[in-house]
Symmetry: C2
Subunit: 293 residues, 2 copies
């Protein structure tokens, strides 16, 4: 059973923040939920929707007296916010987040966390292509993975409270070394998003009539990419800027593989195509077996 | 109202062939449906499932007396089958197909179609990642596009019968010049499949433990690609080998765009990333507005 937090402060209350706030409220995991969002409309909406009880005028006010602080803004905004809240964090508080990159989070938050406050970053593998507090929902994390990435030596009780929190909102929890998280996610998430953005971008550069036809006949494969490529631009810009090494590494592998396929098509090497297409089918089978389909 | 066919011969009775046969039967568009499939198990299954009334011992026997012949095998098998059935086609018959590439279909079938028989290729924009006659279903084409690509000068009444047929099974029909079809589909379908196959292939080359984690956390984007990359290997090999020019052309554009993004990530050019990610979001909106989402 998860211990109840007195006051949870959300810095940012968009899709993920508002979903987690809803889930925490529904599960009775907090006595009070407060938010500060640089977008005042989002904060006001969250309050109007009953997602939070209170909106703060600034981040420092939000975290004052909070025993849990959750960063739920794009990663590029972490460092400034952390500098602002650092002196106002309550002793014994836990600082966590929901960002898609973890090494950069520790780099940006770590120096601002005072002695006696615990940094326990986390990343729920959940989301939709929508944005904003009105898009959130309490079920978002049910049956999904949450990866918790404490820096080495983090207080075990603090880690356990974050693990308990994610379990209480329905997630399965995996504890992972932050750098390893960034390499795994570069493959499963960052590269797929980059590729989807690129292919949809290539299509937007087509002349007008052809572009209309691409939209009309998008159900033949293209459509699946547009959903991914509709994700929040600020969030994704920050992901790529903050997981550069791992993304460039896996992108290099991908480009090599694509070049080999291009060559196989040019020279009519059907067997090479067939072999790859057969191997990839087996991976789908594994995902279905792992109940992730 | 669609005119009823006396005898419809399916050459190949996999996912698409069996779905169309089911839809034709349900709509009462044929007095008799017969199939020949080089995979005797598929033919027997289709008969056992009641999808066809009769299985022929060879393609020539299947098309004898048929007033509609539908090629529903991978494109690489068209030429040999066409040479075999050419002398057995009934006068006035229509030869059509469901292939994903259209110039190559006209190239491979055209020379074998005798005077007085009409070639009207078609391509339903519908499918799943599954294969085989047991995967087919009569609703597959409902509300989906069917593109009809008659060669220049094709008998108008024959074209109209194929248009009527697709409308009768629930599709919206677009008539398109075959070469134009191949360019549009290279973007909307062939490139997305190639990219999906590549990225899933890149992941299969990872060392064992990392690969297991990719499967475990696939819901973060990768999963959507694995569905596409689970499509029929033979069919897709033949698509790439038979739409080479258009695929290589659009792949070249994609690679240039990807290289530009790679450079933007390497040099931390956030504005360029943000601009692209904002443009691609608008395309998703267009697809939703076009009711193709």
């Amino acid at each position: 059973m998860s211990q109840v937090f007195e006051r949870v402060a959300f810095l940012g209350i968009g899709l993920i923040g508002s979903s987690l706030a809803r889930a925490i409220k529904r599960a009775g995991l907090a006595k009070q939920i407060v938010t500060f969002d640089g977008n005042a409309d989002h904060a006001a909406q969250a309050k109007a929707l009953g997602v939070v009880e209170e909106t703060a005028r600034n981040a420092a006010e939000a975290v004052a007296g909070a025993d849990l602080v959750v960063f739920a803004v794009p990663i590029g905004a972490y460092a400034d916010l952390a500098a602002e809240i650092g002196p106002h964090l309550a002793p014994g508080a836990i600082v966590s987040d929901v960002g898609s990159v973890k090494m950069a989070v520790i780099r940006d938050l770590g120096p601002h966390i005072p002695e006696g406050v615990y940094l326990v970053p986390a990343h729920p593998i959940a989301g939709t292509e929508k944005s904003g507090p009105e898009s959130g929902f309490a079920d978002l994390f049910e049956g999904r993975w949450a990866i918790v990435t404490p820096p080495p030596g983090t207080d075990e009780a603090a880690v356990q409270r974050i693990v308990d929190l994610w379990r209480a909102v329905g997630s399965e929890v995996e504890i992972m070394e932050p750098g390893h998280h960034d390499r795994v996610l570069a493959i499963t998430s960052h590269l797929p998003h980059l590729i989807a953005y690129t292919i949809v971008g290539t299509a937007t550069d087509l002349e007008g009539t052809l572009q209309q036809e691409v939209i009309k006949f998008s159900a033949s494969g293209f459509r699946d990419f547009t959903r991914i490529a509709a994700s929040d631009p600020t969030m994704w810009r920050d992901v790529f800027l903050n997981n550069r090494e791992a993304v460039l590494d896996v992108l290099q592998r991908f480009t090599e593989d694509l070049t080999a396929l291009q060559r196989a098509i040019r020279w009519g090497e059907g067997e090479q195509l067939f072999d790859l297409f057969t191997r990839t089918r087996a991976i789908r089978r594994s995902i279905i077996d792992a109940k992730q389909a």
